[in-house]
């Protein structure tokens, strides 16, 4: 699985990130589209190919590192965030991606996920959310809607599902975006933003599982409904959606509200304008929570605020400690503090 050519950033193409080995996801799996989009994005993020690392946990999505020609680490169920943190902190020059799924990241890996966000290590997370356990063949996941019939919920789940964006915002995440697996253009635009963000970025990919949860996102992604049921948010632009771009979002009584332009005197000027950089996350949180049928689903970059990455603070401390300390080597350390010397075979009495 090694390769032996030399390349610089210049002249990088998606071919540089392809492997000859077969991709072993099911035909029709949403993963194929994500893989292909990522391979198209990597040449455009300004990073040498040898400095890119893909890390994953366990699950269908987590086979990703085996399908892309970068350094890769397919690790343990739920632990990708911790492994990726170690890689990035060991060498902050690396560009590190974590590919994970709803079960991997938010069930078994939930603890690592929230602490990674809190620390804000500069990693890019691709969360494949198909709302089901695929690799273990069809048990409910932490994002499966309540009431869903699955192999482990024959009468319907009684659990409340997580909304990944709520977790990101709740854990002080600095970047959250949502895309669907069937729209490569939007995905590419979002992934470039995610790669450029300093700090942990989370991109939730609404992904279809053709075998165990087919059409789970159909009411969001279906051709006939997508324009009415999605709102594509862009920084600095009004929150507008609909096939005829005639619906939008306003704030009323501290709640978001869907309005129709032209009705009740509403004009485009009344609509909220998206500010991804707003450090105060309340509107981002509201946007993240929007659900059908009352609201469209928010897509695109919902939050992207400026922050300092953990490793920058850490290595600044290292730099300062090295500068200030008289201890420059281990030899200095061994001889620091309370050390005494025995000069003769028979030390004299004090």
């Amino acid at each position: 699985m090694a390769e032996n050519e030399i390349n610089t950033v210049e002249g990088l193409t998606r071919q540089d990130f392809k492997l000859s080995d077969p991709v072993k996801w099911c035909a029709g799996c949403g993963g194929h589209a994500v893989l292909s989009t990522v391979q198209a994005v990597l040449p455009e993020i300004g990073v040498e190919k040898e400095k890119i690392v893909f890390v994953s946990g366990i699950g269908c999505s987590s086979r990703f590192p085996y399908y892309i020609n970068t350094y890769g680490f397919h690790s343990l169920h739920g632990r990708g965030a911790a492994i990726a943190s170690g890689i990035k902190l060991a060498n902050p020059e690396l560009n590190v991606w974590l590919v994970t799924g709803d079960g991997d990241l938010m069930a078994i890996g939930g603890n690592h996920f929230i602490h990674l966000l809190r620390r804000n290590i500069d990693l890019n997370i691709l969360l494949f959310n198909n709302k089901i356990y695929g690799l273990t063949k069809g048990q409910y996941s932490p994002t499966t809607p309540q009431g869903s019939i699955t192999k482990t919920s024959p009468e319907g789940t009684v659990e409340n599902p997580f909304n990944p964006g709520e977790l990101v915002l709740g854990a002080q995440g600095t970047f959250f975006a949502r895309v669907v697996d069937t729209e490569p253009r939007m995905m590419k635009e979002v992934l470039i933003h995610a790669a450029q963000h300093t700090g942990t970025s989370v991109v939730e990919v609404l992904q279809n599982c053709v075998i165990f949860n087919n059409k789970v996102h159909a009411e969001i992604t279906g051709k006939e409904v997508k324009d009415e049921n999605q709102i594509h948010l862009r920084h600095g632009e009004p929150m507008i959606f609909g096939k005829n771009s005639d619906r939008g979002l306003i704030m009323k009584d501290l709640r978001l509200q869907v309005v129709r332009i032209g009705e009740n005197g509403v004009t485009e000027k009344d609509l909220l304008v998206h500010n991804v950089h707003d450090p105060e996350g309340t509107i981002h949180y509201m946007l993240t929570r929007m659900s059908l049928p009352e609201y469209p689903i928010a897509m695109g970059v919902i939050r992207d605020c400026e922050s300092t990455a953990y490793e920058n603070l850490l290595y600044e401390q290292v730099r300062q400690a090295k500068g200030k300390s008289k201890i420059k080597t281990v030899e200095d350390l061994l001889h620091s503090g309370n050390v005494f010397e025995v000069k003769d075979e028979e030390p004299s009495d004090i």
Binding site: S75, I327, L334, N338
Partner: protein, 615 residues
């Protein structure tokens, strides 16, 4: 002035400091041992503290102790029983009465010996007048009151004033042991560097304690422990945990691979994390993870990225790290896992020592998952074994578990500081950029280890992971025969390590009647017991194992030269069971103790004598 006391020269003395958790006994103990080291005594220390931070004052549960053994002769353990006990309250006295030598000197803080404290300690009568202290040399000093008086002029609040009373105790001991007060004063100047007021106050209390002893008639006898015959060089007092941290720093510098510690606080291993957290000046990174699992996973990630990845923990944490160790076995990355053992199972005895993690360390993973296992045997050689663990991990591309225990971790001894230049080189099996022959699971024939290629290196992009890999190419493989080949290769790689470790040493004659077998932290007690019996003319030798997996190649040779063999360990017989499975045909007697306490020399000698008498 009192008449000049009689000075008795002693080869060794054991002093036990005991008081409430908040009385500063650990500090007084460390001060006493550091100043002993300064005047050239050999020494060994052992703190004994409760798992509660501040258990109810005055109760037995709240007693915190610190034992110091100093010697003109070589000292290997903190000592079975104390010659001198400092008891700051009745509970401290009651908790330690069973651990005193006959005729021991007992120093008590008279101000705390009242009916209220007797009740808290569970005394029904006044121990000072009920005859229970007959035969002991009891020095009743009003320590609290005298201290309060001494620091009046400094205008401290009651709490700060009370905190200086440990220096009164120190002053008493300086006099009792005929020490130069200036050493104690220098210690305080060093400790409170920037705070002149605290320096002045503590020095005043120290002197008061000293002069008080001089004045009263109670101490008719004082002691002198002359400097030990030490080899030439630089020495310091060091604990096991500090030595482990420093061993990794040394290995990192020698190998040129940055040190990355991923860890989570746990007693009794936390000081390793704390020590490395303070070593950013040497470029070391300590990552305090959200849990034990993240600690090891971050270390494995760092190791993949080319760092020396280390994680430190105790038994309960090791259980959580099992899957992560398995990943390091599968990906064949260097990793050192430190297990500072404590009493178990479950939360068990967090602050007490035990050796009951051996089976977990050897076998506590799913699949065929061999790891190298080393065990340090003294506080100071924790440095050497941390260094060797890192060397083996890097050179053999394998996880190594380094075993320590609560006794080594918190205990201290005098350490002859090594020269960095004298430490063995560490060869890093790194691949050159753009090496066209690189295959991720290609192995070097001498060690059967694969090579290390880090992200960022040109022309070496590759993928590793927990799925079984094809031999040489490292492709994901579910081929049945390949799996068997890989399982066997991983085991063979481990077995190869035996070619690179020293032979098992025997202390005493290489053959004889009785071979005492120990491993890890029991060395001090075992070697003292064996050497004392040898001086009495017994045919007895000791084999203390530091290399546990693989065992030294000559282990079978060592075993067969003795008529009887006894395996002594602080568990129910795990190393004995391990030896029975690896070296069949030998009979092993067992001596096991599982009380959260180290072996006592007297109990060992009694057992060995019993066997030798019945031969």
């Amino acid at each position: 002035m009192a008449k000049n006391p009689k000075v008795i020269e002693l080869d060794e003395v054991v002093v036990k400091f005991a008081g409430d958790s908040g009385d500063g006994m650990q500090l007084t103990g460390s001060q006493f041992s550091d100043t002993s080291a300064f005047i050239g005594n050999d020494l060994s220390t052992f703190p004994d503290y409760p798992s509660e931070i501040r258990a109810p004052q005055g109760t037995i549960a709240g007693v915190s102790g610190f034992q110091v053994h100093i010697g003109h002769k070589e000292v290997q353990t903190p000592g079975d029983k104390a010659d001198v006990l400092v008891a700051m309250n009745p509970a401290a006295l009651r908790a330690n009465m069973g651990w005193l030598k006959q005729g021991a000197t007992i120093i008590i803080d008279l101000n705390n010996f009242d009916s209220k404290n007797y009740e808290k300690a569970g005394y029904s009568d006044d121990p000072l007048s009920d005859g229970s202290l007959e035969g002991y040399n009891v020095i009743k000093a009003p320590i609290t009151e005298m201290t309060k008086e001494a620091v009046k002029e400094f205008g401290f609040d009651a709490r700060t004033a009370d905190k200086t009373k440990n220096q009164f105790v120190a002053g008493l001991l300086f006099w009792l042991f005929n020490r130069d007060l200036r050493i104690g004063e220098d210690f305080l100047r060093n400790k409170f560097k920037s705070n002149q007021l605290l320096i002045d106050a503590n020095i005043k209390v120290l002197r008061e304690g000293y002069y008080y002893s001089e004045t009263i008639e109670a101490m008719s006898t004082t002691f002198l422990v002359n400097p030990a015959k030490l080899e030439k060089g630089l020495f310091r007092n060091i604990t096991g945990n500090q030595a482990i941290a420093w061993g990794f720093l040394a290995a990192s510098e020698k190998s040129g691979r940055p040190l990355f510690l991923g860890s989570y606080p746990i007693t009794p291993a936390s000081e390793i994390l704390q020590e490395i957290s303070g070593r950013k000046n040497l470029g070391a990174i300590a990552f305090q993870a959200e849990d034990e699992i993240a600690g090891i996973c971050a270390a494995v990630g760092a190791s993949f990225a080319g760092n020396l990845g280390v994680t430190s923990t105790s038994g309960p944490g090791l259980a959580l790290k099992s899957e992560g160790i398995g990943l390091a076995v599968m990906t064949e990355l260097p990793l050192v896992v430190v297990d500072v053992q404590r009493g178990g199972p479950s939360t068990g005895l967090p602050t007490k020592t035990e050796q009951a993690d051996l089976m977990q360390v050897l076998y506590g993973r799913h699949g065929e998952s061999p790891v190298v296992v080393l065990a340090a045997s003294t506080p100071a050689n924790c440095f050497d074994y941390a260094y060797r663990a890192a060397k083996i991990a890097i050179e053999h591309m394998t996880p190594v578990i380094l075993m320590s225990d609560g006794y080594l971790a918190n205990g201290s001894e005098l350490w002859h500081i090594p020269n960095m230049a004298d430490l063995p080189d560490i060869e890093v099996p790194v691949v050159k950029d753009n090496d066209p022959s690189f295959r991720p699971y290609n192995r070097r024939p001498d060690k059967l280890a694969r090579y290390w290629a880090f992200p960022g290196q040109k022309g070496l992009r590759h993928r590793v992971g927990g799925l079984e890999k094809a031999d040489v190419t490292g492709e994901v493989s579910h081929d049945p025969l390949n799996h068997q080949i890989m399982v066997k290769l991983r085991q063979a790689k481990l077995n190869k390590v035996a070619d690179y470790i020293p032979e098992q040493e025997v202390i005493g004659d290489p053959s004889g009647e009785l071979l005492v077998i120990g491993w890890g932290g029991t060395f001090g007690a075992l070697v003292t017991a064996v050497e004392e019996l040898r001086e009495e003319g017994r045919s007895i030798s000791l084999a203390q194992f530091n290399y546990i997996n693989p065992l030294p190649a000559n282990t079978g040779e060592v075993l067969k030269n003795f008529r009887k063999k006894i395996v002594c360990e602080l568990n129910l017989g795990q190393f004995a069971a391990y030896l029975r499975s690896s070296h069949q045909g030998h009979e092993f007697i067992q001596y096991n103790k599982v009380q959260g306490l180290p072996f006592m020399i007297t109990e060992l000698k009694m057992k060995f004598n019993e066997i030798l008498d019945n031969l």
